[in-house]
Amino acid sequence: MFQIKWLWYSLKGYRKFYITALFLSLLCNVLYLTTPYFSKEIVDTYITSENARQNLENNRNGFIMLLVGMIGFTLLRTIMQYSCNMTYEISSQGMIYKIRNKLFERVQNQDMNFYDKNRTGDLMTRLTGDLDAVRHAVSWVFKGMVESASLFVASMVYFFMINWKMALLLLSVTPFIFVFTVAFKRVAGPVYVNLREKLSKLNTDAQENISGNRVVKAFAREEFEKEKFDNSNREFSAANKKAALLWLKFSPFMDTFAHTLSAVMLLGGGMFLINGTLTMGEYIAISGLIWAIANPMRNLGIYVNDLQRFMASSMKIIEIYYSQPTIVDRTDAVDSTERLKGEIEFKNVSFKYGKNEVLSDISFKVAPGETVAIMGETGSGKTTLINLIPRFYDVAQGEVLVDGVNVRMRKLKQLRRNIGMATQDVLLYSDTIDGNIAYGDSSMPEEDVKKYAELAAADSFISKMPDGYETLIGERGVGLSGGQKQRISLARALAVKPSILILDDTTSAVDMETEAHIQESLRNLDFNCTKIIIAQRISSTKDADKIIILKDGRIAEMGTHDELLKNKGYYYEVFTLQNEGFGKEAV
């Protein structure tokens, strides 16, 4: 029952509330047992008694007191019930709030490995549906269990006090219900695990359809998508039915047993009455409270049912709750908040995805402020290489050094604060353009935002928009052209004034003229910055201090534009490919 332990641990800070709430609900239940007292007293004394009219005339005040008591007690009980419910809400919401924030933090801090494994839709399920199952358990299931148990025990004790034989007889029915409950619990577990998997699949399918809506439309695949979704929808629906029907298979037995208590009461109690081992008063006292043991027994199954759902969901949450990224700060990491100079060195670096060696024996050095361009065929390891600098991955062999210190010996955040990166797959946020550019420093003044937008050749089109920098853009920057998105992403990277600027194919969708402008700004940055640029166009790379050509994860060529041209290798080939036709007309 690790889940329960975890729940208790997570309740920290709200335990006091929760225990108070549990205690209050006990109290409310006891009060509930006393409620019929007043009307019974009124009926007995002033209505059904032989001298009812007499009593009323003699003791009007007593009658009025009973009425006041009846109203007052109900008021008191309901006020208590209300505070009890609110206390449950405070503790369950408080706990869920804590768990949710913790999960968010966890999800954010994971390394790439985690994101390769977990689909967005599944992660969303964990933070919504699964979390709700936990909330339900805390604010409802455990509460119900405590209430039921206390009600059951209290009534049983009461019964034993009145007449132990009758009580024992009633108690003898209960084991049957436990047997059924245990049997049910065993089969229900897997059903709920399956149900939450189906929910996760439903979420994943819907989420991908929404994110990929452009592709769906481009291929006119709406019908296919609908079919696919209908399947998940149907499976989810079937899993829901299966879980509910499984419970309905067991519940009639439990209900019948619970009802049997009344029959046992009638038969056993009747026999005892005839034998004289039970008085009529005792009979009425016990049978009047028979619901107080029947209901808990009937509800037991319902709670066990809900508990299985909780178990399945909480397991999924716990997975994330305790998942540790493999890339973390070392305890003996260098602690330095100083701005880095931006010297980068790769020493015999190899890297593997699983068993696949993606980079082998990479060595090169970049002095602060230099520009390095990386080129190579698709899949040659360019992006992987740059991902090693901010330590998105750890090397398999060799070392990546920044300012002479191995990146593994640096604190992740301190390292990354010095790096500005514009990734290949541009991801912008549904926020204003201003908010997107100032992502690395949200307190950045507007002039600065504008300045970096200018450097990235984005100011001209942003200023033309109706709301300028306050224009809201959609998720993934939709509503902007590819080139515009790339330029905002570039401005965002420049805005952190990084010591190391990494541009992964950032200008591929930008026209030549704009690119020239961008290159000009990169040359004249007012802060010291080492630039690493992945690009496909010679125009983007030719001015670099060093050009590295990757081939199958190895450095095939390295040198300046002129050196590589002389080399007549890949670079020269690309150069001629991209310049074909020149020389005839243009030059």
């Binding site: 209505i47 809400e89 359809n209 029959a263 030549m512 007309e585």
Partner: protein, 590 residues
């Protein structure tokens, strides 16, 4: 609706009215037979449940005093029998309604999803995707019970009330009026709670939507977060959203939790009033004590269904906040849809003509003005020009992702707005800047272009676009699992896969929008050779910034200033020494 973001509540365009409820009935109507059966079963179960106390009463009054053990055993068996009947009947009812409840939300979700498929890009561009997702999954789940059991229970409880009301009226009209006097009080209390409660749940649904939106964006953008070291700030933002959600929840339950205690108190007040009126005001002249006793017991029986109804109402108020969001999405207008008399487009050859086309994304801001051009079947057209000039817009209009504001676009002489969208788009192959990868195998992703493609055909398509090599090198080859934000594939590889996907669909018109921007020059060259073969017999539009990609096209159009400023072959345009010449020479490096 204006663009929305994670920290802005969505405005509800049309507030809830009972028309919404009528719509909900449409979904229930389909299952009305089952619901009626379930209802009848419930009635019988209730009646059979009433027999129990009668048997007990009889036993206590007659059998036990007489000491008739045999009869006692018989009665006990009878008691179990009646209970079993009740249990079985309500079990069958529950089974039926479980299925109905699930089927109803299956239908709603199906319709919702189908409608989402018809909605234009704009809809998806205008709001965080997390907000759409939560409607499709979580909100729909929430309304299941309300639309199945909730409805039946309302009728049952109402019936119950009427039943008891009749008994009360027979017993004493005056005291019945006392019981009923509680109702206006009840109504006033419920109404004043409802006002706050409803707003509070609406607010809560907004807050959960906001939180979801932020969550989804951050899952998608985890790497951006990390590189910008925004973990703490984002956690603080999420904390704020989470806090707001909690606060709105607490506020909502503050009111919701009031419903039950209020009803409870009113019910007690009514009972007290019966005692008071019966004993102090009317007695002893007009009323017998037996009547008062009976009336108090009826009064609690009468208020029980009311309390149950108030509970159902409580749920209803909560869920209506979700239901109205669902219906709002279902009501979202479909801007681009088949015209009522649209017909299927015939197999096209690919003659395209733009006639005087004007288009604006936003009112009054024309992106294209009076653009006209003709493309002959089989021609390849390159669109060049500064970013944001409208190159993508032209191909979007051709695929009818948007409708033109003025003029018309024809393919083989047929206005594209007159044919069905499906028949139009399925003859076109459009490769977008964003190469979205679905989670699944690589083969699945490519097969997306043509669902009945064989493995062989997939492989051939990959060979043509030079993707076969890297796919085959992967451990599981074409069966390798990839996902949407996975790092398994590089940007160039994603583009190649999406290229293969497009080619597989064997389109008559091919649109490549920055399709090769992330592919290295050498692979692109190889690709081009395969492509030249493929372009034969197809009309194609190519948008690219690398001029090496486009200079072999039959015609190059330079897009600028809301229209086409230059048009001609590579050589012609160079000779012209205009914008294209300028662009071309700027790419020249040597």
């Amino acid at each position: 609706m204006a663009r929305n973001r994670y920290d802005v509540d969505e405005v509800l365009e049309t507030p809830f009215d009972f028309g919404h409820l009528k719509r909900a009935f449409v979904y229930m109507k389909k299952y009305r037979k089952k619901m009626i059966i379930a209802f009848i079963l419930s009635v019988f179960a209730a009646v059979s449940g009433l027999l129990g106390p009668m048997i007990t009463k009889y036993a206590l009054d007659h059998t036990i005093p007489e000491g008739n053990k045999k009869e006692l055993v018989l009665l006990a068996i009878l008691l179990v029998g009646t209970f079993m009947i009740a249990v079985v009947l309500s079990n069958i009812r529950s089974r039926i309604m479980t299925v109905v409840g699930q089927d109803i939300i299956f239908d709603i979700r199906k319709d919702l999803f189908a409608h989402l498929q018809k909605l234009p890009f704009q809809y998806y561009d205008d709001r965080p995707h997390g907000k759409i997702l939560i409607r499709v999954v979580n909100y729909v789940n929430s309304v299941s019970d309300m639309l199945s059991n909730g409805f039946i229970n309302v009728i049952l409880e109402l019936l119950n009330m009427v039943f008891i009301l009749v008994f009360m009226l027979i017993t004493s009209v005056k005291l019945t009026l006392v019981v009923l006097a509680g109702l206006p009080l009840f109504a006033i209390v419920m109404f004043s709670i409802k006002k706050h409660q409803r707003r509070a749940w609406q607010d809560n649904s907004n807050k959960s939507s906001n939180m979801n939106a932020y969550l989804q964006e951050n899952i998608m953008g985890a790497r951006v977060t990390q590189i910008f070291v925004r973990e703490e700030e984002n956690a603080a933002i999420f904390d704020r959203l989470s806090k707001k959600y909690r606060k709105s929840w607490m506020r909502a339950v503050l009111f919701s939790n009031l419903v039950w205690p209020s009803t409870d108190n009113i019910s007690t007040l009514v009972r007290a009033a019966i005692f008071a009126v019966g004993l102090l005001v009317m007695a002893p002249a007009a009323i017998s004590l037996g009547t008062i006793a009976a009336m108090t017991s009826y009064a609690s029986q009468f208020w029980q269904p009311i309390m149950n109804l108030s509970n159902i109402f409580n749920n209803f108020i909560n869920n209506i906040a979700y239901l109205e969001r669902i219906f709002e999405t279902l009501d979202e207008p479909v801007d681009i849809d088949d015209k009522p008399n649209a017909h299927k487009m015939k197999d096209i050859t690919g003659n395209i003509s733009f006639e005087d086309v004007t288009f604006a994304y936003e009112e009054g801001k024309n992106v294209l003005e009076n653009v006209s051009f003709d493309v002959k079947a089989g021609e390849s057209i390159a669109l060049v020009g500064p970013t944001g000039a409208g190159k993508s817009t032209i191909v979007s209009l051709l695929s009818r992702f948007y409708d033109v504001n003025k003029g018309r676009i024809t393919i083989d002489g047929e206005d594209i707005s007159e044919v069905t969208l499906n028949s139009l788009r399925s003859q076109m192959g459009i490769m977008l800047q964003d190469s979205f990868i679905f989670s699944g195998t690589i083969a699945d992703n490519i097969r997306y272009g043509r669902l009945d493609a064989t493995d062989e055909e997939i492989r051939n398509a990959c060979k043509t676009v030079c993707a076969d090599e890297f796919i085959s090198e992967m451990k599981n080859g074409y069966r390798t699992e990839v996902n949407e934000r996975g790092s398994m594939l590089s940007g160039g590889q994603k583009q190649l896969i999406s290229f293969a996907r497009t080619l597989l669909s064997d389109p008559k018109i091919l649109v490549l929008d920055e399709a090769t921007s992330s592919i290295d020059a050498k692979t692109e060259r190889l690709l081009q050779q395969g492509l030249n073969e493929l372009l034969k017999g197809r009309t194609s539009f190519i948008i690219a910034h690398r001029l090496s990609t486009i200079k072999n096209c039959d015609k190059i159009m330079y897009i600028n200033n809301k229209g086409i400023t230059e048009c001609g072959s590579h050589e012609e345009l160079l000779a012209k020494k205009g914008d294209y010449y300028h662009l071309y020479t700027s790419q020249h490096i040597a």
